[in-house]
Symmetry: C2
Subunit: 511 residues, 2 copies
């Protein structure tokens, strides 16, 4: 129900519509049956469903959920209320708690208030101004678009009623034991608060009423009308999604076709940029290396303890061509960091729980707690590297991933996490030499597989993908560091210097 | 290395053994290769490995881990340090944090201090006495036995050295920036503290030196000797486990063959107990039902808010024959509880992440935070019901599960969680009537499958399994409640009365 701007969108929820018990009973069996069939189809088609239940205090959101509990097959329905934050949630970017609760493909996640509860409360309480609110709502639009592109169905219901009705309902609630926890605003303040809440709601609903995830304003005066309407809407949304095999719209908007061509891999500027600029022959003397390594590791250990004290988190991303020396560089970092402060995540094939979610879910799972460091040995960039080059995902998916990845990293850095990304590059000859060396060193043979040789044949395709990745995802807040890797020692020192510098700078900024 | 009681087990760690750089280098390549081969075999055989790194302050446990990081394939090795507890951990039984970190089958979990760090610190600091310590160590033995029965390899290394050596090491550490966080005991106190720590260590190591998970005392005076010895031990343990296809010992001890025969299903006493004692014909009048339901739900809502305030958690387990009315009974409970305070877990087939862990892992994942309620619609009892009757697991496994389940529930209740278990029983005729009704009600058809009919044919096998389950797992702290289900309304009232009573009693006890 997209709303014509200007008119009072909530007017439709103050008509006093109701449904008789008879009419309700008559429709219920048929609706239940249809809902269950749709739920089964959703499961078979692996479509995740997000049902967001939001609206006025006293509208009986809990009642809606209880009715749906009864109508739907409980297996595959999960209800989440984003209420108090645990400290593990406080210690990470805000979105982490939502990612924790994302439904698996084929399941229905019922989100109480969803990502709307917090901004509405902050604005209503006055601790946010409109600008804060709008910024948060932009983020929400991004998130919902991303989920829709991942073939999710998002059904957003807003429950509303007139001031008089709310006054009655809250009084009744306040009387009954079962809701004594709900507090009734002071009589005098009531009108004023109703008005102010409605203004906030209006701003929130209007600016998040996006095409594929529209708001449904539902009058909550009568509980039967409220529940039946919710059921009808949920059914309609599921059925329409099922009728369209992956919806075209979901694929088009946001796809970066309209991005400056000089960032596209085949533009001549791209061909000569970045990777080719690295002087791979840079080296360091063995003795200098030993000295610098000791200095830098000592400083890093000290810095990570200070970062821990200041609750400053770090995310390090290591990508690079095969045999570029990622493992060795990572170990030189982890050797210096107390193992209680860091975790190394080696990205292998996703588990089925990971496959059952958006591809960023598995990385959100690993976002470090405040003061800790997480090192990713390969990362979310697989989406625009191996998945792109090997054709594991559609052009639309990897093309859109640049936007999604930038947004993800922005959420990390804007919550104060240090993000440093390393691309380790070696020459094609050096790679060949290392492959051979691995084959000849017993304890390194496990590292070299036919796949490495296959990837090597696609050297140029990877180079193009890497160039575009570097161009599209380098940001001052989450920079790519190109590391010349032909000399392993030189590369390790470069990495350690970058990490220590980033920590030193961030810590200074916090003093 | 099981230790003859009486003699000083740590004497072997004060000899001053060391390894020359040359000898180290010479052995290293061969050891690395063998370790990698073993690691690959472990992965193929899906054997989980627990490596516990514990011992004296300053022994360089971090150094051991860094060396292993280098020797092993980082993919499939996860390092965990059980240090500060997050509040999500504090809000649950202590073991929850370990279950969070359990390695997947085929992977190696390196546990810094593991479950030994906490008891040693508590006893050393004097906040525990020997009795507290011994009780905790008993729990550790249970846990390790359970993991071993699940085919895990547990390698426990204790790093130790003489007082003089420790004095030197700690001084050095205190000087170097990299460990400024480590504190050196006052000179005067040093000997005394060394002695006291060794006494605690002695008690801990001796009483957890169990057959299949022995302690290895490793002298940490020389880092090369320390690391090489660790590598050798890890290799030997992995190889010996690989050489024995599932080890006999792992299957026998603990298996309840020696339990009183009157608890075995075929004893005549068992046949007539429990299930047959329920009077299935009990009923309640529709009007009484309406009144009681309203009263009990109102009280339950109130009780759950008070439990939330008191951080009192509740776990409800619902099991029963097919069509006994579990879903309806659960909904009458959840309708009364604010959705922010409760979660319903419907147990379906395990995901592959769940399959890759001990069968209790998926339930540990769902243990409620303090003040919340988790309702399990089917549960860990599947192990001794469907898995037993359908032969999905070995006799040894389900027979041992009684012990494991009792231990699991004891950990919940002893940490203050309310545990109430419900068995919903209906007569065979009533079940038939309900199956037919389901087939004739469009929105209930999804609930009735061929499997239900198959289970029905095994009615007697299930009855025996249920009788034994009830006999073996009823405890005053985690009781089974047998619910007469032929009258759904009667059953729901029984459930609500039990839950409210349990909450009321527990809350009173806390006043």
């Amino acid at each position: 129900m997209p709303l014509p701007p200007g008119e009072d969108m909530f007017a439709t929820a103050k008509i006093g519509r109701s449904l008789s018990k008879a009419a309700y009973k008559e429709e219920e069996e048929q609706l239940r049956t249809a809902l269950l069939e749709a739920q089964i189809a959703i499961r078979e088609r692996n479509i995740p469903v997000y049902l967001i239940i939001a609206g006025m205090e006293g509208a009986g959101k809990g009642g809606v959920v209880n009715t749906l509990d009864e109508w739907l097959d409980a297996r595959g329905v999960n209800v989440y209320a984003f209420w108090e934050e645990s400290d593990e949630e406080k210690m990470r970017p805000r979105a982490w708690r939502f990612w924790r609760a994302m439904p698996r493909r084929g399941e229905i996640g019922v989100f109480f208030g969803g990502w709307y509860l917090h901004p509405i409360e902050e604005r209503f309480s006055g601790s946010w101004d409109d600008a804060d609110l709008d910024q948060c709502l932009r983020g929400i639009r991004e998130l919902e678009r991303m989920l829709i592109h991942d073939d999710a169905i998002i059904v957003k219901c807003w429950y509303h009623f007139s001031e008089e009705v709310q006054r009655k309902k809250l009084k009744a609630l306040a009387r009954s034991d079962r809701s004594r926890w709900k507090m009734l605003p002071k009589k005098s303040k009531f009108s004023e608060e109703y008005q102010r809440f409605e203004e906030v709601a209006d701003r929130v609903v209007r600016s998040t009423d996006i095409g594929r995830a529209p708001w449904h304003i539902i009058e909550a005066t009568d509980h039967r009308y409220r529940d039946m309407t919710t059921g009808r809407i949920l059914l309609r949304e599921m059925e329409s999604a099922l009728s369209e095999a992956p919806h075209p719209e979901r694929r088009v908007d946001d796809s970066p076709s309209n991005t400056p061509t000089d960032m596209l891999p085949n533009a001549p500027e791209a061909r000569i940029t970045l990777l080719d600029r690295i002087d791979l022959e840079q080296t360091i003397e063995r003795d200098d290396y030993r000295r610098r390594l000791a200095e830098l590791q000592a400083e890093l250990n000290d810095l990570t303890w200070r970062a821990y004290a200041k609750k400053l988190s770090t995310v390090l991303v290591f990508e690079g061509v095969d045999a570029a020396g990622k493992g060795g560089a990572i170990r030189r970092v982890t050797q210096a960091v107390d193992s209680r402060l860091r975790e190394v995540i080696s990205i292998a094939a996703p588990t089925d729980e990971e496959k059952a979610h958006h591809y960023l879910w598995r990385f959100w799972r690993k976002v470090p707690r405040a003061g800790r460091m997480t090192v990713f040995d390969r990362s979310w960039y697989g989406r625009v590297l191996v998945e792109r080059v090997e054709g594991f995902t559609s052009q639309a998916n990897w093309a859109r991933a640049f936007l999604e990845i930038n947004d993800f990293e922005h959420q990390l850095t804007s919550s104060g996490v240090i993000v440093q990304k390393f691309w380790l590059q070696i020459s094609k000859d050096e790679q060949l030499a290392r492959f051979k060396a691995r084959e000849n060193t017993s304890y390194k043979q496990y590292k070299i597989t036919d796949e490495d040789w296959r990837n090597r044949e696609r050297w140029d395709d990877y180079r193009d993908a890497v160039n575009e990745m570097l161009a599209r995802t380098s940001a001052s807040h989450a920079p790519w560091n190109l590391i010349a890797g032909n000399d392993k020692r030189f590369a390790r020192i470069q990495v350690l210097e970058t990490v220590t510098k980033a920590l030193r700078t961030a810590l200074k900024a916090r003093d």
